[in-house]
Symmetry: C2
Subunit: 423 residues, 2 copies
C-alpha cells in the first residue's frame, strides 16, 4: 500500500491512523471472501478493487481533479448521479460501513445514532478516508433525522449541499423533488463551471441506466436454483457500484453475468441444491459491512436478494432516455427516483409490496429484516412489514445490530434457529 503514500499525503490524510485502518482490511476480506468456494472468475476484478480500495480509485480521482475535474460525494440512492456526471464531475457514494470510524463519529454525534452515520462522520473528521478527502462537494439529503442533522455538524469539516427530500409521494412532492434536482443542477454547474446541456444529461442518463441494467441482470441470475453466485459476492458488487468508474464497472458486471449465465445453463451453483434461500430487507450495508451476509452464508443458507439501498433500491427503475429537454429529463429523473421505496416516506406501502413480490420472484424461503441500530424509519416500519408477511405466510426474522462483532455469536444463533424453523 506504500505506493500510495504520496497520494494520501496530497489529500491531507492522517497517515498514521490511516495505516491502522489499512492493516485491518486484508485479513478481514480474506476471512469473509477468499474463504468462499466455487467463486466465479469474474469476481477477480472486484477482489482487486477492494484489495486496493484506498489506492486505485482514489488515484483516478486525483488524476481527474489534477486536470480540473471535480469529485462529488453522496450518501443516498435518491441523489442523482446523472446530474453529477452530466456536469463532468465524478460521483462517489460515501456511506461508512466500518466500525473503525464509529468511536470518532461519537465524538460529535450521540452514541445512540446509527452506525452508518457515526462511521462516515468519523471517516471525515479523522481524515482517514481518501474518498472523503477527494471530494470538492458533498451532497446530503433530509432522508432521516440522523443524517439530516449530521450535515449541520459536517459543515464544520466540508462544503455540503443539502437536498430537501419530500416525505410523501403525492404529485406536489414529485414536483418539489424535481425542483430540488434543478437546484442541485445549478450548484453543480457553479462547482464545475460546466453547463449541463440536454445532450450531456442524456449521455449521463444512459451511462447510469447501463449500470442499473447490469446490476439488474446480475440480480436476475440470482433467481436461478442453485444460485450461481453467493450473496456476499453480489453484495460486494453492489457496494463497489457506488464508487467505481461507471463504464468500467458496467462492463465488468456484464462479464461476470456472462459467466453466471453459463453456470445457470449448466445448473452449477455456489451452494448445494436445496440450500435455503433468504432475502434480506432493510437498511443499507456500506462497504465493508458484510456481517449479516457472512453469518447467513456460513450457517448453511444463501442470500439471494437484498431489498435495500445496497440492493434492489439502487438499480430498480430506469430514467427515460429518449427526452431532449432539460425540463422533461429532470421530471423523468424525479419520477424515477421517487419510485424508490425508502422507509423515510410515509406511507410506504410500495416497499411492503416490493418485499412480497421479491420473495415470489426469487423463490425465497424466508426474509431477514436487517436494521442498523437506531435507524428509526426502518425499525418502526418493521411492524407493518411483519404483519403483511405474516398474512402471506412468509417467515421473517428481525435483526437489529451495529458494526461491532460483539453480537455476532448471538445473531448467528438466532439465524440458525430461524433457518431450522424453515424446515
Amino acid at each position: 500500500m506504500t505506493d500510495y503514500k504520496k497520494l494520501w499525503e496530497s489529500l491531507d490524510m492522517d497517515l498514521e491512523k490511516h495505516e491502522q485502518l489499512c492493516n485491518l482490511l486484508p485479513d478481514f476480506f480474506a476471512e469473509v471472501y477468499l474463504s468462499q468456494e466455487n467463486r466465479p472468475e469474474g469476481m477477480n476484478y472486484f477482489n482487486l478493487v477492494v484489495s486496493s480500495i484506498h489506492g486505485l480509485r482514489p488515484e483516478e480521482l486525483k488524476r481527474h481533479r489534477d486536470s480540473g475535474g471535480k469529485v462529488v460525494g453522496t450518501f443516498c440512492v435518491y441523489v442523482p448521479d446523472e446530474l453529477i456526471f452530466a456536469a463532468g464531475a465524478i460521483g462517489i457514494g460515501l456511506c461508512g460501513g466500518s466500525q473503525f470510524w464509529v468511536a470518532d463519529g461519537e465524538r460529535v454525534l450521540p452514541k445512540n445514532t446509527c452506525p452508518l452515520i457515526k462511521s462516515f462522520m468519523g471517516a471525515k473528521i479523522t481524515k482517514t478516508c481518501p474518498y472523503f478527502q477527494s471530494c470538492d462537494l458533498l451532497v446530503g439529503e433530509t432522508t432521516c433525522d440522523g443524517k439530516k442533522k449530521a450535515w449541520e455538524i459536517m459543515k464544520n469539516y466540508a462544503d455540503i449541499h443539502v437536498m430537501h427530500l419530500p416525505q410523501m409521494k403525492r404529485d406536489i412532492d414529485l414536483r418539489a423533488w424535481s425542483h430540488e434536482l434543478e437546484i442541485l443542477k445549478e450548484r453543480l454547474e457553479e462547482l464545475t463551471g460546466n453547463e449541463i446541456t440536454p445532450s450531456k444529461l442524456k449521455d449521463a442518463i444512459k451511462l447510469i441506466n447501463e449500470k442499473r441494467k447490469a446490476l439488474r441482470r446480475l440480480y436476475e441470475l440470482r433467481k436461478a436454483n442453485p444460485v450461481p453466485i453467493s450473496g456476499k459476492d453480489a453484495l460486494l458488487v453492489t457496494q463497489i457500484a457506488f464508487y467505481d468508474d461507471p463504464e468500467r464497472f458496467t462492463s465488468k458486471v456484464n462479464s461476470l453475468c456472462d459467466e453466471l449465465e453459463e453456470r445457470v445453463k449448466l445448473g452449477k451453483g455456489v451452494f448445494p441444491s436445496g440450500t435455503k434461500r433468504i432475502i434480506i430487507t432493510g437498511t443499507p450495508m456500506a462497504i465493508p459491512n458484510w456481517k449479516l451476509h457472512h453469518i447467513v452464508e456460513t450457517s448453511g443458507a444463501a442470500v439471494v436478494c437484498e431489498e435495500t439501498c445496497t440492493g434492489t433500491r439502487y438499480f430498480e427503475n430506469l430514467v427515460d432516455e429518449e427526452l431532449d429537454t432539460l425540463e422533461a429529463q429532470i421530471m423523468a429523473m424525479s419520477e424515477r427516483y421517487m419510485k424508490t421505496n425508502c422507509a423515510c416516506f410515509t406511507p410506504n406501502q410500495g416497499r411492503i409490496d416490493d418485499i412480497i413480490r421479491l420473495v415470489r420472484e426469487y423463490k425465497a424461503d424466508g426474509v431477514i429484516y436487517y436494521n442498523l441500530q437506531f435507524c428509526q424509519p426502518y425499525a418502526v416500519e418493521y411492524e407493518l412489514v411483519r404483519q403483511a408477511l405474516q398474512r402471506e405466510g412468509i417467515p421473517v426474522l428481525f435483526i437489529e445490530t451495529d458494526y461491532s462483532e460483539n453480537d455476532s455469536g448471538q445473531i448467528k444463533t438466532r439465524v440458525q434457529a430461524f433457518l431450522e424453523m424453515l424446515g
Copy 2:
C-alpha cells in the same frame, strides 16, 4: 372519579386498566405539586383541572360532540389550532407524558423509540385516555422519524390526517406549508360540515393569539428576581394549554398573572433571593412529565423558562389578525408557524439564537438541555448548541432520559453537581 364512569363507558374505554392509571395520579401530583410552598392562589384552577383531568374536560368534549361538534387530536405545535376552531371543532393536544402507557406502546413500536411516542401510542391502543377516545380525527405531521412512521401504525386504530411539514425554511417551504394548511382546511371542512370563512378564521386567530399573549405574559413575569412562580407550576399551566378550553384558559392565566404582578411589585418570590436560575431547552414535556423540573426545584434551583414545545415554542409569535381573505390569513399562519425553531428543521440556527437570547432575558445562570431518549433531532443538535453556549460562556448540562424513575437519583446527582459548579 366514579362520577365519570358513564362518560368513560360511552367512550369505549378499558375501565379496569383505566382505573389503575387513575389511581396513580393523585399521590404523584400531591408529591410533586402540593408539596410546594408559597404557591400562587391562581394555581387552584389548574390544580382542579389536573385533579379531574379525565373527567371535567372530557365531559365538555362529550357535550360538544353530543350536539354535533367534532374533536380533533394533535401532537405538535406546528399543527394550527386556528383552523380547527374556525371549523367549529375543538383541538386537543394528545402527546403522552406517562410511563403507564410506555409498555403498551412497545407492543407495536421499537423499544428504542422516544417515550413520548410510545406513551401516546399505548394510550390509544389500550383505550385508557378519554381524550384520544373523544377524537373524531387525529392530525399527525412529519416532524421526526418516530412520529412520521408511528402514524402508519396509528392508522390501524384511528382516522388520521398527516401533514407534510417541510424540513427547511426557504420561501418554497413556506409556500409548501401554506399548501398543507389549505389541505387541512379542506379536511376539517369535510369532517365538520362547516365552511371556514375569513370571518370565522379571524375570530379563531384572535382566540389563539389571546392564549399566546396570556402565556407570554406569564413568562414575562418569570423574568423577575425573585421569581414569583415555580417552574413546575408554569410548566403545568403550559401543559394544560394544550387541551383546556382556550377562552377560559386565557382568562385563568391572566388572573394568575394579575396575582404574580402583585408579587413582583412586592418583591415576593417562591424561592429565596439568589436562587440559581435555570433555563430548560429541548424536547417537550407532556403531562404528567414533571420529572426534570421536580429534580431541579428540589435541588435548590428555579426553572425560569422552557425553550421547548411545552414552553416558548408554543406561544412565541402571533398570527396577523388584521387580514380579511383566506389566502392572506393562511399565508400569515404559515409564516407564524414556520418561525418556530424545532430541531426537525435543518439548519436550525434560529433555535441557538433563541436559547442565547432567553438566557440573557431571563438572567439565567445555566442551561439544562433536556432530551427524551432516542429523540435524534434534539440529540444531534446538542453538539452545535453546546459549541455556541461554550463560546458565550454559558454553562450547559445535557440530560437524556425517559419517563421512568429509574435514573432519577442519578440525574439528581448530576443536576446538583451542575448547580454547585454555577457557584
